[in-house]
Amino acid sequence: MASTIATILLILVGVSLLYIAYRTITGRPVERRIVFIYIALAVALPLFMTLPAPVQVTPDVERLYDALEELRPGSKVLVSFDYDPPSAPELQPMAVAFMKYAFKHDLRVIVMGLWPQGPQLANLAIEEAMADQEIAAKNLEYGVDYVNLGFQSGNEFVIQAMGTQFKRMFPQDDRRIPYDSIPLMANVTNFSNVDFVFNLSSGKPGTIEWVQIAVDRFGATMGAGNTAVQAPQVYPYLRAKQLHGLLGGMSGAAEFEKIVEEPGDGTTFILSQMFAHAIVILFVIIGNAAFFTERRKQE
């Protein structure tokens, strides 16, 4: 019922854009509050729809998946949460899907953050992954199957120091348990003892710093998930094969959820993003149509 109403409303929104196009072309552009209402509807209504978005998995996401598939059970994965809540709608679905994949494939997860809020967002992702029945049945143990090393200030210098010794930057984990008392960290000295690094980032310090130091200098194997704004800056590293796969924005999250068969928020939100993009594109077309009509009149 809610889905049908939402679909009908979205069709009405689309039709009403014709009136806005007419107004704009005749020199009476609508005020910005009207544009805001359209965006709000485009984002909110799809949340009530059951229409499945046909997500196409891109080669960058496939590369990350292939790299993860090569890891054997028991492999150690370092996940750095370098973002804060404003970027969570794009990055948290990636984090949750990654955690689910890692726990289901018996990977050992070491979590840390170069942003103060990162480790807490990691806890939320772990909690959501643990709610999965298959994962809950494994009875995963903190300190043995996963650990949260917490936040450390120092930006890229933290990565630099970790290249020699993780313990140097994290003498205790987030629960104040000494590094040497954590079973998972028993044989982990530096990046050479970690099989894969996965970085979730929305700025600096983030993926670029991790590639420049952990990958280039210390030879770590790494994949990343970025916000849509940051992803274009990371492409040069992807093409140079310094990065083993990249999840870019909400679409990256949805694609990753599809390839690991863990549908979540990314799959739900991509529909909202699709309609929001459609509205922006239509407003740009309307604006430009008015611009060219005006210019022709002036000529």
Binding site: D174, V284, G287
Partner: protein, 222 residues
């Protein structure tokens, strides 16, 4: 001395990092400097906190414009700090110890249901302003603007399954998704590389000027 000492510290720190990249023997010095950076940054957090408190209290006492918001800032700061410290200390007393960030703590509740929705809302406002600005200002006025407009059009439509959904009556091949991927892979990567090389060269020359003491603006010089 107020200028000379910071200049000497900057030069030594810069030289250690630059030289240790080529001479592994200096690796330990580099690690020691990394430790110091971490410690200095931790102090900077406290400095920022004290500064915010000072500025906000001044605003309140002198009743400057928006002083009511400053009260909110100070109250929020004190509440989060008190809850964090209470959870932190009580968590340490538990066996096994629990971090103040763990699910179930008061701090986690504040983070989850107050801080996260508030900051997410602020960031989400961008979508509305971007849409409004696109409608009013994003015009194909010249060749460069047209190029940007066309690229933006295809990337926005191709990155989400929008255009490919529309052409489904004709083909199942994700034409627009592939085209958006091509734009990101080739023109975007080429442009980003050019920018990165330019920035790297700029950083190198600026760093050299700072290390050699030619550039002194960071210590208040010309």
């Amino acid at each position: 001395m107020r200028r000379e000492v910071p200049l000497i510290i900057t030069s030594i720190a810069g030289l250690v990092f630059a030289i240790s990249f080529f001479i592994p023997l200096l690796g330990d010095a580099q690690n020691r400097f990394s430790d110091w950076v971490s410690i200095v940054q931790s102090f900077a957090v406290w400095l920022g906190l004290l500064n915010l408190t000072k500025v906000s209290l001044e605003k309140i006492t002198r009743k400057r414009e928006g002083w009511q918001y400053a009260i909110l800032t100070v109250v929020s700061l004190v509440i989060m700090l008190a809850i964090g410290m209470f959870d932190g200390f009580s968590g340490l007393a538990q066996d096994p110890p629990v971090s103040y960030r763990e699910p179930g703590t008061n701090f986690d509740w504040m983070f989850r249901y107050v801080y996260t929705p508030l900051t997410s809302t602020m960031f989400a406002m961008l979508a509305f302003f971007v849409a409004s600005a696109s409608y009013r200002a994003f015009r194909a006025r010249n060749f460069e603007a047209t190029l940007l407009l066309v690229a933006g059009f295809f990337v926005m439509g191709g990155r989400v399954p929008l255009f490919d959904l529309l052409i489904r009556w004709f083909t199942d091949y994700p034409l627009f998704n592939q085209f958006a991927d091509w734009i990101m892979t080739y023109p975007n990567t080429a442009g980003q590389r050019a920018i990165m090389i330019g920035i790297a060269l700029g950083i190198m020359s600026s760093s050299l000027r700072i290390i050699l003491g030619i550039e002194r603006s960071h210590v208040g010089g010309q």
